[in-house]
Amino acid sequence: MADALLALREIRKEFPGVVALDKVDFNLHAGEVHAVMGENGAGKSTLIKVITGVYPRDAGSMELDGKSLHPRSTLEAEAAGISTVYQEVNLVGTLSVAENILLGRQPRKFGIIRWDETRRLAEKALARLGLELDLSRQLDSCSMAIQQMVAIARALDINARVLILDEPTSSLDEQETAALFKVMRQLRDEGLAILFVTHFLDQVHEISDRITVLRNGALVGEYKTVELTRMQLIGKMLGREPEALQDKSTGSKWAAETRDEILRGEGIGRKGSVHPLDLSVRRGEVVGLGGLLGSGRTETARLLFGIDAPDSGRVQIDGQAKSLNHPRKAIANGLAFCSEDRKGEGIIPNLSLRENLILAMQASRGPVRLLPSAEQEQLCAHYIDALNIKTPNAATPICNLSGGNQQKVLLARWLAMQPRLIILDEPARGIDVGAKAEIEKLVRSLREKGMAVVFISSELEEVVHTCDRVAVMRDRRKVGELSGEEITEQRIMDLMAHHE
């Protein structure tokens, strides 16, 4: 094979306490669409940021067209010919389409912007993508797909040779995605090197020529797309070779059909987020939401907890129809939700462990009836002990605790409410192995006590071991459900890959 246009060798990037990339090689050729795949924490975004100069690399080499490259900013990377289009389009929504393409590079005469020339150039840039748009239209009023296209037009206009598309399809519908792919193919055929990141498996096989898989900051391998089945791809991403998959069920399973149904969702969905799906959870049952990152698991949880309003279907609690349009209502109905985004949606960073722990309980009591301090202390003491939270004392600001201990405090926040159903979204993400085992143990003991759990995890083993029933999701759809002895790694993977 010809020499790569962009070649990375043994790239290493370390953050305090984490090795984000460890000896990663990556080759991007002119005239190919190259997908970079991996689950959370695999190192995809770090890799892109190293290439675009957002992060300096700690070790390794990077060559563009045989010349060593050390970009110190996205601007330097752009000047070298590497342009990036992000999921959250980095353009100015309040300005026109034409201006967004040429901002900072407008044609001028004596320092005066020549608008007619600007429009002509913008038209030309869009025409290269086969697009004809109203150039004076405000970008904000265009669809996300058009905004992506405009971003690509701008990127190409800076003489890009490498185009990085970071999850460009996350907020596009099928037609929009198809249009984007058409443009991508055309650009590829013109000799552009395209690096493509996505969570959608279908799309990878549809558009990419080669795939590089990363896992936990290390390179798993580089493959030709046609030679890698979807099943194999998932296996590589999750670190489970299909041959080595466990085809047996582990953990004890309830046959929970006879128990009372706590929550029942019928056809709940939200446009652009989750296709309508059914889901029911019974008392004392652990229901897993399986699937890869971006498959719609978190979005489903947000619908159930009243964070986003579903625009179809209905939710029943104990057989009664409820409209849960605010987390407060969900909580009042005995639900709890431990978000995967611990920093953004979980902890109140500068408040103490104690205040973080009692927050949900206090919120449900209202502002007046302050939880007596003795009770607060008792709760803290109880959960620090029960969940083995490592902290100097309950007055320590939560931001001073380790990730695992923060997670335990958030769990305690909800357990103190004694909810009837708790949604745990990737509760074990980013925490150490010991804490992971403890959380798994905790989930089982909650089940023993009759609590219902919705358990979201990317780790097959964890799902198989913990859940009584698993709803498997792929590309924002529920694609199947397994229960009891059916729950095996093999079966879940089959569903995720849609082999049946």
Partner: protein, 319 residues
């Protein structure tokens, strides 16, 4: 087209107000009243134009009234007490205003301090300095100055544009040109629309932001100079609350207070609405001046809510 709606609304309100006033009061619809709208509101207008750039960039400047007062007092004191020639005093004052604005811009940009806080401090500082120059009003007596004050362009029967109005219109034309035909102007819109994007697009965000506050300092100082020509004196207590009037004129002129959207021409509309209400109240004689405040704040509320709705609407109606 949606971004033009607020400006259309501005001029619709202006025309409606003017028509109503013309219907209610005799001799309101005359060239004289219209010309006076420009002469009487020249210094507010110049301040509002500077403020337009600041607000377009997503910032705010509360120091303009105080800078105006300082400039007035400085010019008056230099000419009357220290016998400077006006052609020395005025440019010096303009330079001081520009440097002062630039310094605030530097603090805001370099240390990421909130603009409203820095310019509040700037307001305290400039107001105090104005009183330090002179604790009371100084009238300006200088032949050259009197000659300047007497300059006027006759535009109709009994209708004259004084020098202040001419400067205002010149600044307006220049500002429209800068906002729409120079990279600096477009960068202001980009920064106000999405600062982090502007940075990623490689636009000179830091220098542009500093320049905006320097430019506004210049406009405030120029407004101060025009105000001395209008009043013939320099008063350290002038311009209290002028920053609010200027901000109101900008917002009623259709500029989004969060930045990124708006037109300098709209600000002209805002200033004229302000002036029309004021003239109508004077013509009426029965209504008191506080109605101006109330009317302005109601218009402010309406325009803020209108823009809020429009920006929500824009984002939900993508096609």
């Amino acid at each position: 087209m949606r971004r033009f709606i607020p400006v259309f609304a501005t001029f619709a309100v202006l025309i409606a107000l003017f028509a109503t006033a013309s219907g209610m009061y005799e001799r309101f619809f005359t060239a004289r009243v219209i010309a006076n709208l420009f002469s009487d509101n020249a210094f507010l207008g110049i301040t509002a134009i500077g403020m337009t750039f600041v607000i377009l960039s997503g910032g705010i400047d509360l120091s303009v009234g105080a800078v105006l007062a300082f400039t007035m007092t400085f010019i008056a004191s230099m000419i009357t007490d220290h016998s400077w020639h006006p052609l020395v005093a005025i440019p010096t004052a303009l330079i001081i205003g520009t440097v002062f604005g630039g310094t605030m811009g530097f603090l805001i940009q370099r240390y990421e301090l909130p603009p409203f806080l820095v310019t509040l401090a700037g307001m305290f500082f400039a107001r105090g300095m104005a009183f330090m120059v002179s604790s009371e009003s100084i009238s300006i007596e200088h032949d050259f100055y009197t000659a300047l004050q007497d300059l006027k362009i006759v535009v109709g029967p009994k209708a004259k544009l004084k020098i202040g109005a001419v400067i205002f219109l010149a600044v307006l034309a220049l500002a429209i040109f800068v906002a729409h035909w120079t990279p600096f102007g477009r960068n202001i819109y980009a920064i106000g629309g999405n600062e982090s994007s502007a940075r990623l697009m490689g636009l000179p965000v830091a220098s542009t932001k500093m320049l905006i506050y320097a430019l506004n300092g210049f406009c405030s100082a120029l407004a101060g100079a025009v105000a001395t020509l209008y009043m013939g004196s320099g008063n350290p207590a002038m311009g209290v609350g002028l920053e609010l009037d200027a901000i109101a004129a900008v917002v009623i002129g259709g500029t989004l207070l969060t930045g990124g959207v708006g037109f300098v021409a709209g600000t002209l509309g805002g200033v004229l609405i302000f002036g029309t209400i004021q003239s109508a109240l004077i013509f009426d004689g029965r209504l008191n001046s506080w109605w101006l405040r109330i009317a302005i704040s109601v218009l402010l509320l309406i325009f803020i809510l209108l823009q809020r709705q429009l920006s929500r609407f824009t984002k939900t109606s993508r096609t």
